[in-house]
Symmetry: C2
Subunit: 336 residues, 2 copies
């Protein structure tokens, strides 16, 4: 619990042993600026996310998972653009400089950074209410970035991995629902240690027409693609709902009564749950083989959940093909 | 005082009218990432600073000056590297989304951004204790960045503009000293609306051997240059002190008694006062003409305050050439 000065803190927890900085980083931590050297002609993809205690995480969250998540949500933005991670800056406001907390936080942070060859190049530390702001940099060849604006009528709509588990965990942790311990543990890992889909994003370059990461919920984030592409979509909600990892639990062990009871919650988590950090993307039907191949290359499950229409708006349909018009309105406020 | 949602807030205050993004920015606000396109072969200089209410600014500060300062401290880092500003991301945590506050904040921010052709390319907004994190990007030809590590024995040491006025204003605003209203007004402008020395930094490429911006105080920031260059320096404190704009006031109107009384305060502000955002830099004696020419081209006053020695350590000497050994130790804690 000893208090550390800013420079000592940086040296102890955020200055890494001398090592090759990597091709894209010419100068790292320690000067007024870091110097990035993108590959010849490459564009630099940039994204910034701020995580605030009590809003994006519980104040007593394990600092190791917090370090992971703070970088993961930023890498997820690079993934959604199909950019290869190069480096990041970390700005950190701390109420106190607690050595144990910092050791665990930096351990979680660097474990994920190293896995993605993403170098800490600089940043800032200050005293203040706990706040973590990471800005991440990646590179992508001009014209190859996956944008939100490229979806075309007739394209398939896909999501990666599973949807809604993070929101399910949050509901359980807030006491709004009850989950069996083993389901909660699984779901909570999705909330606290999301896996950014960087490899999938890279594999989808030249195959997907549009992509976004699912940070605010499927309806909201697919909505951004639709709006910026000037199109609409039809999504099969029973497929989306089946992507909740714990859906199987309610289908099976707990019996149909529990499933009946939980169905609205599961639907809501799948469609409007935030914090999934999966990718929602579109690709022409002629690219179905290529999408499957990209999924295999990146060892990531992808599921086709609908199609892009020329008619604007998002149409959610159930297993019988009927619209969920009533429910749709109620999803609006989850997106913000 | 009406409350705004995140997307409405971004659209209203941070989305600018459609305009040329500038050569270095291929895609701005609105996708998962922004896309920067540095000039062919250029390096990207990156810096990130976080400003926290109650620590870096008073909670009731004019939001217009806060918007200015939040970007200015970042542009100052680009200046210290000799990098040309391209763009920045803004992450903002706000306790409430107050329309008047946001209008003034964004006005101050964009006025400075426009003056430096620096484009807002993305960011994040969230609810939380007031916190402003800006990450700024500039470009510099490989090998031309001004680093902290380039000072050599025999080089001259210079600072730009005036030193210590910001610290003097802060002392007065905290009630530690009294300043006449017209002196306070002048000094307070330096504290709240610092002018980043971007033009000077660019003009010093190829002329200065090392540079840093004076954010933590001259002793601390020159200290970084000395440490990273493996050299020492001798600085004439009476020259540094004379750079306090209000020094003339104490020399003149208020009479020698006031000056006598204030001398230790002025010395401390000049040597250890933070928030000046001037540049401290070094250049070989053979470049004196070139430094003056760079100062003229960038319309910035520069003053030679000392020289680099091969012997490590910073030696502060008074008008009689005597060392200020006693006082030096007491400056240590100002730097942190």
């Amino acid at each position: 619990m000893s208090e550390l000065g800013e420079f000592e803190l940086i040296a102890r927890y955020f200055k890494r042993p001398e090592r090759a900085l990597g091709a894209g980083v010419a100068l790292g931590v320690g000067d007024d600026c870091a110097l990035l050297q993108p590959g010849a002609g490459m564009q630099l993809a940039v994204s910034s996310d701020m995580l605030v205690s009590g809003r994006h995480f519980f104040a007593d969250v394990d600092p190791r998972t917090l370090g992971h998540k703070a970088l993961a949500v930023n890498l997820s933005d690079l993934a959604a653009c199909g950019a290869r991670p190069l480096g990041f800056t970390l700005a950190l406001a701390l109420p106190t400089a607690n050595a144990d907390w910092l050791a665990a936080f930096s351990e979680g942070l660097f474990a994920l950074a190293d896995a993605h060859h993403c170098i800490l190049v600089g940043g800032d530390t200050t005293r203040g209410p706990l706040n973590i702001c990471i800005t991440v940099f990646g590179e992508v060849p001009p014209g190859h970035a996956l944008l939100r604006s490229g979806a075309r009528a007739g394209d398939d709509v896909y999501v990666s991995g599973t949807l809604g588990d993070a929101a399910l965990a949050l509901k359980a942790m807030l006491g709004e629902i009850e989950l069996p311990p083993e389901v909660l543990m699984q779901a909570r890992k999705r909330l606290e240690q999301p896996a950014p889909r960087v490899a999938l994003g890279l594999a989808l370059r030249g195959i997907a027409t549009a992509a976004a990461d699912v940070s605010d919920g499927l309806v909201g984030d697919l909505g951004h693609i639709l709006e910026q592409s000037g199109v609409g979509a039809t999504v099969h909600t029973e497929i989306a709902t089946s992507l909740i990892a714990s859906h199987a639990y309610f289908m099976g062990a707990s019996g149909p009564n529990d499933l009946q009871k939980m169905a609205p919650q599961l639907l809501q988590c799948a469609l409007a749950g935030g914090d999934d950090y999966e990718l929602v993307f579109t690709a022409p039907a002629t690219n179905r083989e290529a999408v499957l191949s990209a999924a295999q290359r990146s060892a990531t499950v992808v599921t086709r959940i609908g199609r892009i229409d020329s008619e604007p708006g998002l149409r959610l349909i159930d297993a019988q093909g009927k619209p969920l018009a009533q429910q749709l309105a109620s999803f609006d406020h989850f997106g913000t």
